[in-house]
């Protein structure tokens, strides 16, 4: 048996398992630490959901950011062919991971603001303004480093996310106005939009076969 064949066959599976394990550990510690430091569970379900979406953004930003800054280690966890691929796409990946991180922090701050929250209104509003400005700047800046495939996937992700948000809000609104469900809370709406944006990105990349372990 050729020993060089075996590792290459198992590499995608091993990488997928390592990624899943690290994701689970990061998610567990993220949620545990967050709820220890804040009172998110005491301010309602929508705060918990918004915190959860924020943590997902933060975890993704951390994995991609650290992976890009340490390409050799990153190539063992991220879905790339080798470390060179991370180096080639460094600017684009760093920009988007930073934008995701900023948006993640914004969601966690928002989850802990408002009625029953611990974050003052001025800090919550200030964080939103700064986060949107920074993320917007990074997204526009990153766009020029992306090639046509990534731009196409970004557009598809946006379309899919938009369609899912519209469908969910229409159904939710229709049920709610007829007394068949709870009214839409602001935090739930933010969690929905940001969560669907993330889901849209996964659906678009998955449809292009880019989630297949490499």
């Amino acid at each position: 048996m050729n020993p060089s064949v075996k590792p290459s066959l198992h590499r995608p599976l091993r990488k997928m398992l390592i990624s899943a394990l690290l994701g689970a550990i990061a998610g567990f510690f993220g949620v545990t630490l967050l709820f220890r430091w804040t009172d998110a569970p005491t301010v309602g379900g929508s705060s918990m959901i918004l915190s959860g979406v924020g943590i997902a953004y933060l975890a993704m930003a951390l994995f991609v950011g650290i992976g890009t800054l340490m390409p050799k280690a990153g190539s063992k966890v991220l879905n790339v062919e080798d470390s060179d691929e991370l180096v080639e796409n460094r600017q684009s990946l760093l920009g988007s991971s930073l934008a995701n991180g900023v948006l993640g922090v914004m969601m966690i701050v928002l989850a802990n603001s408002g009625t029953g929250g611990t974050v003052p209104v001025s800090i919550a509003v200030g964080t939103v303004i700064v986060a949107l400005a920074v993320a917007g700047f990074l997204i526009v800046k990153t766009w020029k480093y992306q090639d046509e495939l990534m731009r196409q996937v970004s557009l598809e992700a946006g379309s899919i996310a938009g369609a899912m948000v519209i469908a969910t809000l229409l159904v939710w609104g229709a049920f709610s106005m007829n007394g068949m469900g709870p009214a839409i809370e602001a935090k739930s709406m933010i969690a929905l939009v940001m969560g669907m944006t993330l889901l849209g990105a996964f659906v678009a990349t998955g449809a292009r076969g880019m989630l297949t372990p490499r």
């Binding site: 495939l149 196409q152 880019m210």
Partner: protein
């Protein structure tokens, strides 16, 4: 759309990374084109054809035929 990008790339002795570099796109794009997961834009298809010194229909195979006017 089926294509013969891999055939011509390997014929030229280039890796996916080398072709990506020559075309100014990412390796992921070349991989997606070769595995039929992405149809390139017209400018990129034209550049690929120019690089391999072939016509676009030699590179990208389309089975569609126009209806006859009879």
């Amino acid at each position: 759309m089926q294509n013969r990008v891999k055939h011509y790339r390997e014929g030229a002795g280039w890796s996916q990374g080398e072709l990506a570099r020559r075309l100014g796109v990412s390796r992921q794009t070349i991989n997606a084109v070769e595995t039929d997961k992405y149809d390139p834009s017209l400018p990129l298809a034209l550049r690929m054809a120019k690089l391999f010194a072939v016509d676009v229909p030699d590179l990208f195979i389309d089975d569609w035929t126009p209806e006859s006017n009879s």
